[in-house]
Amino acid sequence: MTDSSQAISVTPTPAASARKMRAFDALTSQSSLLLGVLVILIIVFTILEPKFFSVATASNILTDWGSIVLIAVGQAFVIISGGIDLSVGAVIGLSGVVAAWTMASVLGLDQTVKGQDAWGGLLVGAAVSIGVGLLVGLINAFLINVLKIVPFIATLSTMGAALGLSVVISQGAPIGSANDFALISSFSPQWNPLSPALVVVIVVVTVLGLYLHKARVGLYTYAIGSNAFAARAAGINVARHLTWVYAVSGALAGLAGIYVYIRLGAGSPSSGTGRELDAIAAVVIGGVSLMGGIGRLSGVVIGALILFTVQSGLIMIGVEPDWKKVVVAVLIAAAVAAQVLRKSDGRS
């Protein structure tokens, strides 16, 4: 576990010393720390509520994780590139609503269409949902690259527009259509918490992780986030790469939209409410710097897992729901503090 962006800034050292540094990094890397936190959380919740330690709980947590990890990974790309995407929560709602509307009104499928009969409709819905997300992502890129609007404002306005449109299309109510709930149900409630939908999510996240950390074009994201001027001087087409980054974030939000649709059997305008903040929380807990240029997807993936472990654990032990926000706030503060402390260590 090394941090590629830190590797750039670290001054050259003899090989042996570098290996030592790497070993130290691995032990104290954000991902290792987060895994430690995750294990501690699981132990604490299990002591307080033994039923917490079960495949059923794992299934509950992973089902929640599935939609958020998608937008968190998109958010990580955007934040590493030095921007932010506030529109992802609203896009979950809009893409789910447009997909549901297409399935219900264009294909004429109602909620009595279930099981494998629904697969054809769901494929169309998935294409529409991802398409809607992609479109919003491209609009974000246009506002940022061409109109030179700062990402916070650009994505804040598409967030508002997406929310408004989803309410207009759905008239506020969920639109139900064909669905196969087996796609979101665990393969085996006793043994295997994964579901078909989760397998898709894991494949997508893995591919994007390899792309960001291994492909040269993926590494451009770090260069732009560290110093956009230097990246441009080095010959990177910054505008084109940023378009790609926001398109990925939008398309992932669209994929999350159809995931949530399958989860609910309906497209609902409020199904993404506030989720952009969950995504940003996962990204920050995962060790990505909001200043850009630093972070790894492995941390983000575990960060999202921690969020929902806390949520599930607090529901299971029957803590007042408002405490969840307090606990998440403490985790965010701790994660950022750990990040800053490790950074100052590395420089000394």
Partner: protein
């Protein structure tokens, strides 16, 4: 959906007001010109809520039937005093004869009501009320406490409640402060304590108006309480999320589910047995009665409608006739 954005609504209202000032007359939605045209402004909570969509249908029907002009306004998505007050101000600038207001806050909207009354405008409250009703013509609302009690009855029937048995139920709420949530939960709890002492409300959680969070809550409850008997989903959002969670876990019919609000998508799930019952309000009737009362008062100088009217909530279940299901479903036009 004539005003997708608040700014458009406000700008539009200001434009209409300026036209009124220059002496032109405007004709808004609904209503054929009567001999003495009565204009009624109707400012509701949030256009995005199917409850208000259904209310709009009732208001437009009654305005057309009475031959009066209806000015329908409200924020597209935010149920808040902050967004509602400027809309009320803009509407009052059009000098309507009457104002039907769904105050989003009992205190914050009092000044707007007082201002309207001082200007000689007849004011009625629907669904929610301002604190001081002394100069308000009538206050028409649904009975949330009674709805909660009806939910308890429906859930107990589904569980097969027997004296001496012990049962576990949970309640999915939206927020700890929403007044409708509080009323329904009070009614539900009181009815269970009085009639079904063997039922224990073992847990509550909040969905924050997000159906996916509502589904998450139900998933975790099903793990924690493997013998869970029933769920009371206190509003449309919780109802949608709970229904999906039961379907995904294959527990439809095993765990009783009583929901609230007759969203079209949820009404269809009564027939398939996912909902034991849905408790529905009658927003269209609330709107019709408000308009009927105002027209009667303006034309005759008095009204037979009492100062406070409580319209009972109804239980929709497998025995409800198709006609009644259609009547109570929150349809938009």
């Amino acid at each position: 959906m004539k005003t997708p954005f608040r700014t458009v609504a406000v700008v539009g209202a200001l434009a209409a007001a300026s036209i009124a000032i220059t002496g032109c007359t405007t004709t808004e939605t609904g209503g054929e010109p009567a001999v003495e045209e009565i204009s009624i402004a109707f400012v509701m909570g949030a256009e995005s809520d199917p409850f208000f969509q259904a209310m709009k249908v009732g208001a437009e029907e009654e305005a057309a039937a009475q031959g009066v002009e209806l000015i329908w306004q409200g924020d597209p998505a935010n149920y808040s005093a902050e967004t509602q007050i400027p809309i009320v101000d803009a509407v009052l600038a059009q000098q309507p004869d009457a104002l039907v207001l769904i105050p989003t806050d009992p205190v914050a909207l009092q000044a707007s009501v007082d201002k309207a009354i001082a200007a000689g405008i007849v004011v009625a409250n629907v669904d929610t009320r301002v604190d001081d009703l002394s100069n308000v013509l009538t206050f028409i609302t649904g009975d949330n406490t009674d709805g909660g009690a009806k939910a308890a009855d429906a859930l107990a029937a589904k569980i097969g409640y027997e004296e001496g048995g012990s049962y576990e139920v949970v309640v999915g709420l939206t927020s700890p402060t929403a007044t409708t949530n509080v009323g329904r939960l009070d009614g539900f709890t009181a009815q269970i304590e009085a009639e079904y002492p063997g039922i224990a409300i073992v847990d509550v959680a909040y969905s924050e108006s997000n159906p996916e969070k509502a589904a998450t809550n139900v998933n975790n409850w099903l793990t924690k309480y493997p013998g869970l008997d029933g769920i009371f989903a206190i509003d449309g959002t919780n109802a949608s999320g709970a229904a999906a969670a039961l379907e995904a876990k294959g527990l439809v019919g095993t765990v009783g589910l009583v929901g609230y609000d007759a969203y079209p998508d949820n009404v269809a799930k009564i027939e398939s047995g996912i909902f034991t019952a849905l408790i529905a309000q009658d927003p269209a009737e609330e709107a019709r009665l408000a308009i009927r009362t105002i027209v009667e008062f303006i034309r005759n100088g008095s009204t037979s409608t009492p100062a406070e009217v409580v319209i009972p909530n109804v239980t929709l279940d497998a025995n409800t006739s198709a006609a009644d299901l259609a009547k109570y479903t929150y349809v938009a036009n």
